[in-house]
Symmetry: C2
Subunit: 225 residues, 2 copies
DNA sequence: GCGCTGACTTGTACACCGTTCAAATAGACA
DNA sequence: TGTCTATTTGAACGGTGTACAAGTCAGCGC
């Protein structure tokens, strides 16, 4: 048994914890080293670079998303569960969407997730490239919603005083546009615009629209072959 | 007339050019200063900070998006045009989505855009918070698609040699999952999964789904009040 | 038990980054 | 011409990610 030595897994775990707790901006190798009780540069023997570590952390998140079997729940329920599961994961780990556009991340976790996404839409009746398009459409929809949430999280983390100023500024700008002003005046409307509500509505609408595009199936009754 | 001195507009212009040409990673104050023929720190008299500058650049992009009048084209065409216009802008300026999640950006340009989005969905027949949800759903859908494109752009920029290695690695991983492997073997399918295709399909499906949720309208013939 | 070996860790150092600030500069106006 | 004020400059600071040579320590053959 070697002396208690660092592990890739250990490092990735600590990285995720740190990222979740303090945000992407405050995530640095020195801080991570301190949390692990090691020198700042000890991790480089195990991970190669900070970007590699981020990719590893991202893939870990991906592999933790539940993959419901469409044969059991039906494709639509499976699609909904996958989408909401992904949304929840990305909301829990905002740094993932924040880095998604700048990092090259493709590991087993994401592959597993992608493959299952295709399985769901193939089970629905989409063939070949259509399954790809459907899966990608829903995936990117979730991604965009999570990005909006991440932006809000970032704002909230920026200390109370700074946030109050930005908010006041935003209100002053919004007041110059009629519909935004109306929403400022009736706070109920603003509350209704919570990201979760838009996500749910959008997801259902999107799945409805996809379902309507499904090639004709043999069902109890079908109009065309 | 003062000597030819720097301007906020000038700086923002140069920043956008630099960001578009070299990407977010290679965008630094010193490089920007060199491009402007000024000292690296000259910009700080005009903009406050790098993040401020990015927010300014982002808002500039936002204000350049065309806002079609739903009263002229019909709400659905207006919604489609807005979404595709936004998609095009975000694809042209990938750094915008890359920073969207980490930056606090809310200026007149975005307000203008948001307000018009609400106008479109109110014209469609959504009231109050429902218009908010519909507009947000479509907006975030576009955002997510653009983020996917940004990720691809980043990958493409990372030099040919590095890209070839990453691609080979990705193929090795994908080969372990049946549906991804099938797509590797028939490159036609992979071509069909182009982001633009998924965007178009998803947008139409989403708008279909939203349209179906519209409260009953007085139309030539309507089944229910 | 000893010393070798190779896996891991450490500290130092480097280049670069965003940003601060006092000093220099140069147009405008008296 | 001299002064004022708006702008620019260059040097410097603390921070970052990372390379690298030197150190440390478990395990193993003798």
């Amino acid at each position: 048994m070697p002396r208690d030595t660092l592990t890739r897994e250990q490092i990735v775990d600590a990285a995720i914890e740190l990222l979740d707790a303090r945000g992407l901006d405050d995530f640095g190798m020195r801080t991570l080293g301190k949390r692990l009780g090691s020198a700042a540069t000890a991790m480089y023997w195990h991970v190669g670079s900070k970007d590699d570590l981020l990719a590893l952390a991202a893939d870990r998140v991906w592999s933790e998303i539940a993959l419901p079997d469409p044969a059991v729940t039906g494709w639509r329920a499976a699609a909904t569960q996958m989408a909401t599961g992904l949304y929840a994961a990305l909301t829990r780990h905002p740094w993932l969407v924040q880095t998604f556009g700048s990092l090259v991340l493709y590991g087993p976790g994401k592959a597993r997730h992608d493959d299952h996404g295709l399985a769901v839409y193939e089970a629905a009746g989409f063939a070949g490239a259509d399954a790809d398009r459907a899966a990608t459409a829903v995936f990117t929809f979730v991604l965009g919603n999570a990005l909006g949430v991440a932006a809000a999280t970032t704002l909230a983390r920026r200390g109370k005083t700074g946030m109050r100023a930005t908010l006041a500024n935003a209100k002053a700008i919004a007041a110059q546009y009629p519909r935004l002003r109306a929403r400022l005046e009736t706070p109920a409307a603003r509350h209704g615009a919570s990201p979760a509500g838009a996500f749910q509505l959008g997801l259902e609408a999107l799945l409805d629209g996809l379902e309507a595009r499904l090639p004709a199936r043999r069902k109890p009754a079908s109009r065309r072959a």
